[in-house]
């Protein structure tokens, strides 16, 4: 029943993008997201499209993995497109009925926004498809390090995230077990009104929560017994290695950012 739940949609591989440093990937994505939305100039979108296609090519991940995660996103994209279609009143009317009129501006605006979202989504999924959640956490921790000076508990945050990731499969197993146990007692999760089905979930979640607290306590004891005393004075077993290609990738995205800025200042929109 829980098999379809995809946790971290990582697809193992050895492509260029797979082997990139997670920090580089995160920096690139951040640059991309910010500067893609900074200007409405078509150049910006075309640049984004080129970058996405290149990244897509180098990641060597079959299209079906994107489509699998796409269902929900497609609805959002379509919704955006339709909203623009009906609400933008620019340019000549191209189609009119007594109830509504569609203008050319609406089509281009909608298409523009939809492509933008699509590109953004592909880029973001590229990151999660080519990076293990663990590597992602490591990357985030090092990137957040400067925030430590401001009093942000970066080590603790990253550590919490990595423990959460470690326990997701364990908790899923547990949920499956509880569901079976409650079924054996006659609970019904698939029939009845929506309200009844929602109510049927309660006997799953309560034991799950109780167990999780127990687990948390056990884990805390085990960590203490193994000498965990917070982030101070800790060394790291997993090392991140920054290679030349990581620098190149960041340079490419930084150039994109620069171009967008120039267009923005020069073009004025």
């Amino acid at each position: 029943m829980l098999d379809h739940v995809i946790i971290g949609q990582y697809v193992p591989g050895k492509s260029f993008v797979h082997r990139m440093d997670p920090r580089a990937k995160l920096i690139c994505l951040m640059l991309f997201v910010v500067f893609l939305f900074i200007s409405r100039h078509p150049f910006v979108l075309i640049g984004g499209l080129i970058l996405t296609t290149t990244a897509f090519y180098y990641a060597k991940i079959p299209l079906r993995f994107y489509i699998k995660g796409m269902r929900f996103i497609v609805i959002i994209i379509l919704f955006t497109f339709i909203l623009h279609l009906f609400l933008t009143r620019e340019g000549p009317a191209i189609f009119s009925t007594p109830i509504f009129t569609i203008y050319l501006g609406g089509v281009t605006q909608g298409g523009f926004m939809a492509t933008r979202l699509l590109v953004l989504f592909i880029m973001a999924s590229l990151l999660t498809l080519t990076t293990t959640p663990v590597a992602l956490t490591d990357g985030l921790e090092t990137l957040m390090k400067p925030l430590k000076k401001l009093g942000v508990p970066t080590h603790e945050l990253a550590f919490m995230m990595s423990i959460a990731l470690r326990f997701i499969p364990t908790l899923l197993d547990e949920t499956a077990k509880i569901i079976k146990a409650q079924r054996a007692r006659g609970a019904n999760f698939t029939q009845g009104s929506l309200w009844n089905r929602l109510k049927a979930v309660i006997p799953i979640f309560i034991p799950l929560f109780v167990q999780s607290f127990k687990r948390a306590e056990d884990l805390a004891t085990a960590m203490e017994a193994r000498g965990y005393e917070g982030g101070e004075g800790r060394t790291k077993f997993r090392l991140l290695t920054w290679l030349k290609k990581d620098t190149y990738a960041v340079i490419v995205f930084a150039l994109y950012a620069l171009i967008v800025l120039i267009v923005k200042i020069g073009g004025g929109n």
Binding site: R166, K236, F237
Partner: protein
């Protein structure tokens, strides 16, 4: 040499609670394998947590290689000497992969990277986990998970290994697997091993057995001596292991077998010999 010494230890969780441990006096020698047995709620698991300063006594003292656990400044040092493996394998693995978890303790005490890699690999080899370095914990069997926990424990080069019901959630194969590796550590590396268990079959293998009831020690001696003491076992609400029952039933019928022969193999051999003589 005494490695753990407990002198008149008393403990309760909260001042209003009743005592969980009453006047515990226990000395454990270096290199010994001591099993602590008792019924649920006898205080045996609580006792284990005193050995690496997870709990400290409200009265009396616990010395781990001469260091008192009542002094907070000793805790870091004590925890490096005493490694613990707990009951539930799922609740003590911290790392996302086997090697990450084995490295956890080393990371905590700031071992440099090169040395860490080497020690992690050594521990993994010792526990027979080669090839599983990058596996995720939830893909391992119970026995393998406990071996990961053991590997993490021994990577710290501890003097003492405490197993707090570490085999109670495993199937018989997993149990055997873990015990075999623990036995090896005790024999080959002269590691002091303390196993908390309610499985008397496991206790039979140890050098010394400590029986607990209601927070007090009611028996302390050779397993073969304590396991034939029916009064003691009844008092502690423990069931005699099958072999002991069998030997006793056989002696009752006049079969000449001494109680000293404890292992299953030896018993089978003796019985075969006897049959040939008949």
């Amino acid at each position: 040499m005494e490695i753990i010494q407990m002198n008149n230890v008393y403990f309760r969780y909260r001042p209003s609670d009743k005592l969980v441990l009453k006047n515990i006096n226990l000395t454990i020698q270096s290199g010994e394998w001591v099993s602590i047995v008792g019924h649920n709620g006898s205080g045996k698991s609580t006792l284990a947590k005193f050995m690496n300063a997870l709990f400290t006594p409200i009265e009396g003292q616990v010395l781990v290689s001469g260091l008192s656990t009542s002094n907070v400044n000793n805790h870091t040092l004590i925890r490096r000497k005493v490694a613990m493996v707990f009951q539930n394998p799922d609740n003590q693995i911290v790392g996302p992969t086997v090697e990450d978890d084995v490295a956890f303790g080393l990371e905590n005490c700031g071992v440099p990277y090169e040395e860490m890699v080497q020690r992690v690999q050594e521990s993994i080899n010792k526990m027979g986990l080669n090839g599983l370095e990058l596996s995720e914990p939830h893909r391992l069997s119970g026995g393998q998970k406990q071996r990961v926990a053991l590997a993490g424990a021994i990577s710290m080069n501890p003097k003492i290994l405490v197993l707090d019901e570490a085999t109670s959630m495993l199937d018989p194969t997993g149990r055997e697997e873990v015990i075999r590796y623990v036995q090896k550590l005790n024999r080959d590396e002269n590691m002091t091993v303390i196993t908390i268990t309610h499985d008397l079959k496991e206790a039979v293998l140890s050098d010394r057995m400590v029986v607990m009831k209601d927070g007090a020690i009611i028996g302390n001696g050779l397993p073969s001596a304590l396991l034939t003491n029916k009064d003691l076992l009844k008092q502690a609400r423990l069931r005699q292991p099958f072999i002991y029952e069998l030997v006793e039933a056989l002696t009752c019928r006049g079969v000449p077998i001494s109680v000293g022969q404890i292992s299953e193999e030896e018993l089978v051999k003796t019985l075969c010999k006897l049959q040939q003589q008949m």
